[in-house]
Every structure is written in C-alpha cells, then in structure tokens.
Symmetry: C2
DNA sequence: CGTTCACTGTTTACACCGTTAACTGTTCTG
DNA sequence: CAGAACAGTTAACGGTGTAAACAGTGAACG
C-alpha cells in the first residue's frame, strides 16, 4: 500500500526519467537543468530524487532497455506463438531496426562505458532474457544439436552450470546446459553485427541494404537447425526489414 | 622543407595530441585546461592549433588508431612472413588484448558516436587496412573458396566492385571481388566479438577466459580454409592470449 | 486540534567546462 | 628596419553538475 505522497513521488520519478529520455535525443542535450525545466522545476530539486547525473543516466538506460524490449516483444507476438523461428526473426529484426533508428539510445544502453552493465544485467537484462527464452523455444521445436558437456572446456561447463547472468533456465535439466553456450554465441553474433552496423565501421551501403545482417541471420539459422526454414525466413525478413 | 616555425608548431601539435591521450585515461578527464596545463599553457592557446574540443578528439582518435595498429603489426611481425595464418592470429589476438586493456581508447576510436567514423575511415583506417591485407595473404596461400559474383545479391556485387572504404585491392582481378565479401564478414566477426567483450554484455567469466573469442576464431578458421591448421592455431593462441 | 517534523521545492553559490575577444610580445619577411 | 604573421596571455561569457541554506506544505501524533 502506497501513501499518496509515495504515489506522487513515484510519478515524478517516472516523469524525470521520461523527460531525460526525450532530452537525450534532442539537440539541446541531456542536462539536469533541461530535465528540471521540463517539469517546471529547478535543477537542484532533482537531487531529491536522484543522486547524480550519472545515476539518472543509469535509470534512463534501464528504462530504455525495458521499453525497447517491449517493442521487440510486440513484433515477436505478431508472429504465431507456435512458430518460434519466425518470432525469433521478428525480434532480431526489431532489435536491429531499433538500434539503427535510435543510435543515441542504443549507445547509452549497450556501448556506454559510464553505465555499469554488470549491475544493469544483474537486475534487469530485459532484451537478453527475451532472446534466451526465444532461442530455447526454437530448440524445443527443432531440437538442433548442441555440444555435449564433455566436448567443452571444463571452465566453460562450470560457468554454464552456474550462470551469473539471469537466465531463465528453471526446469531445464543439467544435460542441456550445452545449449546455453549456443545461446550465448547467437547473442554474440546478433549484438556484434548490430553494433558494427550502428557505428558504421563498414561500407555504409552494406548497412543500408542489411547485407551483413542477413548474412549473419543465415549463419545463425544453420546453427539453430533452421536450414529447412531458410526460404521462409528470408521472405519474412524481406517483409520485416 | 619546413621552416623552424613550422617545425616547432608541428611538434607542439604532437605534444597536444599526446597529452590529450594521456589525460583520456586519467581520472581528471580530458579537458582543454588540463591538456594546456600539461604543456605549460593556458586553454585558449590551444585554439591556435585546434578548432574545438571535438576536433581534438578526432585527432586523438586517429592517433590512437594508428599507434594501436603499429602494436598489432609488431605482434604480426613476430610470426614468420611465410605464415600468414599465424600472422593473422597474432594480429587478431593483439587487437583483442589491446581493446580489453585500453577500453577508453577503444571506445573513442570504435564506438564513439561523436567521432565521425566515415571521415576517419576515408583518410586512415589503419587497422582495417591491415586486416584486409592479412586476410588477402591468407587466401593467397590457402586458396579457400569464396562466393562467386553470380551467387551474390547484385547490389552487393556492385558495391564490392567499387569499395567506398580504402581497400588495397590494386592488382586484384575483378573475379576475386567475392573475396572482399569474405573479408568484410571476417572483420565483422572480429569487431563484433571484441566489442561484446569490451562492453561486457556477457557473463564476465566468458570474457576472462577468452571463450567466445576462441570460438569466433575457430569459426573463422573454418571459413578461411584453416581447418587443417587449427591445432597449430589453437596452440599459438594459447601462447599469445 | 495544534505541534512537530519530514518532505519537496526554492535561491544562491561554487568550481569547472568549452569558447570568444582583446591585448602583448616575439619572430619571420619584404 | 617596418610591418605582418604568429603564439601566447588575461578576462569574460554562458553553460554545466552539485552543495548548502532556507521556506512552505502536508502528514503524523500527543
């Protein structure tokens, strides 16, 4: 139960974060005075809600992460729930499109050294969790092969059995922990490709036409047992991209 | 021929960039006043050499890129010139090690939205050029297969024939332009993996033990016709990492 | 019901930032 | 040798994040 004071406080908190987000992409820049002005306040008042400019950035990062993930989920859910492959593609494309459209926000959440990603990951890692869950459902349907624990480095096995990142592996038997390795590698491929595209360390036309992104998807499709589905996936991506 | 004035000017220029680099990683932060203090000057004096703080950052970025590449080349050249595979591995490991050790500098050069990468790429893209050259020499020796122009999207073919990024393809016949696509994808894999490691969007222990990096290298070894060399490469990486 | 006190805002101020303008001395050049 | 080009200074402006002191307002309690 919240007192009325706590309620208004929480709401101001939300307004602060929302205003900060808006200013992040505006040309004026994300300054405390600008944020305060949006709420008809003065800058020092913000210190009643936030410890520092940096901590506010952290809050904004978490907010962006979770609302962006909402977007991805919306795209995912436009595909049939019985078609995890299509859902995965839709989410991946949504991730890429969002990143390329909102570079400043992507930068804040995914490649900002000032943001403590580990702390962020511990509490929420909305997008990461979502992709892991999707990948698991793809495996449930297609049963693609994954490395047995015996073939992996012992260090790797031990850390896969005790994941430090919140992975929703409840009800997954120990024998399947090699799967987590596949998931990590898929995430690495997606994240790496999108980051490369966002920062443009590549011929811009390759980004424009989504050529490496498509190539990466095709590679991953092979890994995830979706080779037979490839023509369908290609058509889907053409539609989504 | 340089007049003595031009000479001292060029030297001050170098000192400014060097001081800026040093301050970039210091806790004090990279401010014009701090840079000036390092040269026993006042901040406004820097405007005789540099248009703005942002332009100075660009210069620092270029400097970092080129000196880091020197480092990579030094590691490359510790391997036999007749062994391009080993040279490539050495350079790739050097790139990764450098990135993880100097995250602030990596961030500035490779994932800083304020730095105009395209401009940077046009003039110098020291590291990119180096990797392209290495990859070409690997192909010369191992003759790994690459996609024929006919199997690629027409947009892709046309942009490969007219690269916007300075690739040293002089003397390479037109039929080999499918190779460039392999190169781009290899670069994407390396850049993506290293960026992921640097920003830690992954279980930190996976980074610590270099597990995804190794996995990425093994994948790329397959693509680059180095499957038979893998045991040797593995041993080499163990030594280098 | 009145008092107290935590809460939420204000104003003022500080140190620092990038940057501009005006001024001064030195050094090269015609 | 005169004058211009250069390389530095000081002073100042508007901006930043942040700290301290103060003021009103609403909730809680005797």
């Amino acid at each position: 139960m919240l007192t009325s004071r706590e309620q208004t406080r929480a709401e101001t908190m939300r307004k602060i974060v929302r205003a900060s987000r808006k200013l992040l992409t505006s040309k004026g820049g994300f300054t405390l005075r600008a944020v305060a002005a949006q709420l008809d306040m003065t800058a020092p008042a913000l210190y009643r809600y936030v410890e520092s400019h940096e901590q506010l950035m952290q809050l904004v990062a978490v907010d962006i992460d979770s609302t962006a993930t909402e977007e991805f989920k919306k795209e995912r859910d436009k595909q049939s729930a019985e078609d995890p492959a299509a859902q995965l593609m839709a989410a991946a494309v949504a991730f890429r499109t969002w990143a390329l459209t909102n570079k400043a926000e992507f930068h804040l959440v995914f490649t900002n050294p000032e943001v403590d990603h580990n702390a962020l990951l511990q509490t929420q890692a909305a997008s990461g969790l979502m992709f892991h869950e999707l990948l698991f459902r793809v495996w449930e349907k297609y049963q693609f092969p994954f490395p047995a624990a015996e073939t992996l480095e012992p260090e790797l096995v031990s850390l896969l059995c005790d994941p430090q990142i919140p992975i929703d592996m409840k009800g997954v038997p120990e024998e399947l922990y090699g799967l987590v390795w596949v998931f990590m590698r898929s995430w690495a491929a997606l994240y790496g490709t999108v980051t490369l595209e966002v920062y443009g360390h590549l011929d811009p036309r390759v980004v424009e036409h989504g050529l490496i992104f498509r190539a990466m998807i095709e590679d991953q499709a092979g890994v995830l047992g979706l080779t037979d589905e490839l023509p369908r996936m290609r058509a889907l991506i053409d539609k989504l991209i």
